[in-house]
């Protein structure tokens, strides 16, 4: 009797609590994201964990020795070839993100401020290159920059050069040009959105207070559109560090990047642990660099005030 009297009230409480739990916003939110979350867990987090685990192991021909070692990281960080490749990858991705943002800004500015009624049409036109595959777009740059390519024959036709230049293709510049073009739309869109949010009356107010077009741009439009630039830079930078299709197709010997080395370790060289250590190192460095970029742009923004 005493047991029943003591037992029933907590039971009712639990039921009420369960109902409240099902109706609470966080729970509903988790329920909504759970399919994607599970997908990401299985196909993203688990593989990364496997990669991280591999990076501490050793390859013996066909078998992998699971004893903990930091040897792979020593090789990845001190071996000149990997250090150079990593530096080159970072240099290329930084240069690409810089040029992409610098070239994307005027386009985004034009669409936002002078697009008039045709804004959506302009944005639509920007997506057209994405109708074809990434591979085809890279190949088309080969056609443009190649020995008998469009650029060479054009320059020869104009009499600027006498024989085809080999400096255009199969080097890091070719990789930078190709990647800058490939990622343009990813920079244009965030910058466009932040420019759209700039209140046009503020530009008028700056003009009213004596600023010419350039001054009002530098003092009002640019600082207020900085969030777009801040998000565009890492969007371009992070994926370009790890790109291996473009360097493979247009990079030649000078344009090889860290991802090509990683691919080789998992493929022909068959040294998974070293490949894994290179991947993890790259990931950490990219994370640090992306964070640093955001901090630097924020600091610049504060200085501009």
């Amino acid at each position: 009797m005493t047991v029943a009297a003591e037992g029933s009230p907590p039971l009712r409480m639990t039921r009420a609590r369960r109902n409240a739990l099902l109706q609470s916003e966080p729970v509903q939110g988790f329920a909504l994201i759970s399919p994607t979350f599970l997908y990401a867990l299985v196909l993203l987090v688990l593989p990364i964990l496997v990669v991280i685990a591999h990076s501490f192991w050793t390859q013996h021909y066909l078998t992998i020795d699971g004893t903990f070692t930091l040897e792979n990281y020593r090789v990845a960080l001190t071996e000149p070839i990997y250090r150079d490749l990593l530096w080159r990858s970072l240099y290329i991705s930084l240069t690409v993100s810089f040029f992409t943002v610098v070239l994307a800004y005027p386009i985004a500015y034009f669409i936002s401020f002078h697009g008039g009624r045709h804004k959506s049409l302009w944005l639509f036109l920007i997506t057209i290159p994405f109708w074809t595959s990434y591979l085809l777009r890279v190949m088309s740059w080969k056609v443009i920059l190649g020995y008998n390519g469009v650029l060479n024959s054009g320059l020869m036709g104009l009499g600027v050069i006498d024989e085809p230049s080999t400096a255009l293709l199969y080097n890091s510049s070719a990789v930078i040009i190709t990647l800058t073009h490939a990622w343009a739309a990813f920079a244009i869109l965030p910058i466009f959105i932040s420019l759209e949010k700039v209140d046009r009356t503020l530009v008028e107010a700056a003009t009213d207070l004596g600023d010419g077009p350039l001054r009002s741009f530098l003092r009002v439009t640019l600082p207020l559109s900085a969030p777009g630039v801040i998000s565009a830079a890492p969007i371009v930078m992070i994926p370009t560090v790890g790109d291996y299709v473009t360097p493979k197709l247009v990079g030649g010997k000078d344009g090889v990047m860290i991802a090509n080395a990683i691919q080789a370790q998992f493929g022909k060289a068959a040294n998974w642990p070293l490949g894994a250590a290179l991947s993890v190192t790259t990931m950490v460095i990219v994370t640090l660099m992306a964070g640093a970029t955001v901090l630097i742009i924020r600091a610049l923004q504060r200085l501009a005030r």
Binding site: D199, T201, A205
Partner: protein, 377 residues
């Protein structure tokens, strides 16, 4: 009856010069077939508080933006301080603007907002800081210099916008509906403050508003605009008491309209016959054009007074109360007068008990024939 009380008729305030500050000549602004401004001409004097009043779409903001340089006339000319403004961009005009949305720079604090226009001038030896402080004091914002724009209330943002423009010491300050975003109480307080500020700094103010009370309370002169045309330019009192047409009369508060027949018309006066008010002699408005003997006579509701008990007046009309509306300090009576097609609106203060007059009562109303104004139909 001789005036027992000598009343100062003119608006109190600082003496204005008669020198023109802004001269607008035959300005037309067309967008395709639509004319936002249709042949507007106007002279605004130095040191004047001038209002452009009208309903939305009447062209008042277009005109203001043209003075500022954000828009250009299709034809016609605008001069500020004797200098033609054609071809001079907004950033090099001697005007500054207070925007309707205030347009406070969100990435700057209050001081930086106010100093924005001064930065370019590269003032020496703390002059910039001194002027910013002075401007902040003028608008009673001292001590808030380091606040971010996002941390300010509507009234404070408005003051920042005002200080930011005043600190430039413009020849003309342009105000685009500056009070419309504030609540009623704050708006009334800012009206008084704006007027006081204008008197103190002596700069020509041009205010755009659709609020007739705002224009009446603050201005030295008002231009009433309709459909891209300037209907009347006059002092608040004249605009209110002697509107040139029904549209102007209607826009500036209540007005009873009575049909009239022109009996006699000469240079300065007009004699008309009406059914309710009999034969009346009034001043002839400057722009009056008689059309086929017809005219309209107007009288403001507060110029009709209820006659109590056996009180009599030289001029009175009799009628019956058909509606009564209570507004606290005043009561609004609707009085039917035999012979008039529309009943008269009467506004009476409540200190004698107008709020207790039952509907259906027969009453007599006294009026001053001076208060009757003739308007073209």
């Amino acid at each position: 009856m001789p005036d027992q009380l000598q009343i100062e008729r003119s608006q109190p305030g600082r003496p204005q010069s008669d020198r023109p500050m802004i001269e607008i000549r035959n300005v037309i602004r067309s967008y395709g077939a639509f004319k936002a401004l249709d042949d507007a001409s106007l002279t605004i004097r130095e040191g004047e508080f001038f209002s452009l009043l009208g309903p939305s779409g009447c062209g008042k903001t277009t005109l203001l933006r043209m003075i500022a340089g954000f828009d250009n006339p299709t034809s016609g000319s605008i001069a500020v301080g004797g200098q033609p403004m054609e071809g001079i961009p907004a950033n090099r005009r001697p005007t500054n603007m207070v925007f309707q949305s205030y347009a406070i720079f969100p990435h700057l604090d209050v001081e930086q907002n106010v100093a924005y226009g001064l930065k370019r001038l590269k003032l020496q030896g703390g002059e910039e800081k001194r002027r910013v402080e002075e401007a902040l004091t003028q608008v009673s914002l001292t001590g808030l210099g380091k606040r971010r724009a996002t941390e300010l209330s509507g009234g404070q943002r408005q003051r920042v916008a005002l200080a930011r423009a005043l600190v430039m010491r413009p020849k003309v300050l342009l105000l685009d509906e500056p009070l419309s975003a504030l609540d009623k109480k704050l708006r009334e307080q800012m009206q008084i403050e704006l007027r006081r500020l204008q008197q103190a700094v002596g700069i020509t103010f041009v205010l755009v508003t659709h609020d007739q009370y705002e224009a009446l309370a603050m201005s030295d002169r008002i231009a009433v605009m309709f459909g891209g045309r300037i209907a009347q330019v006059a002092s608040p009192k004249e605009i209110y008491q002697r509107p040139v047409n029904r549209q102007v009369a209607d826009f500036l508060g209540g007005m009873n309209f009575v049909k009239a027949e022109i009996v006699e018309e000469n240079g300065a006066s007009l004699v008309v016959d009406t059914l309710g008010f009999g034969r009346v002699k009034t001043d002839k408005p400057k722009a009056f054009v008689g059309t086929g003997g017809g005219a309209t006579l107007g009288i403001r509701p507060e110029r009709l007074r209820v006659l109590w008990d056996n009180a009599t007046a030289k001029f009175e009309v009799a009628g019956k109360v058909v509606e009564r509306h209570y507004f606290g300090e005043i009561t609004h009576l609707i009085v039917e007068i035999p012979g008039l097609e529309k009943p008269l609106s009467v506004t009476e203060t409540n200190d004698f008990g107008a709020d207790d007059i039952p509907v259906g009562t027969s009453i007599r109303l006294a009026y001053d024939p001076e208060a009757l104004v003739a308007m073209a139909d």
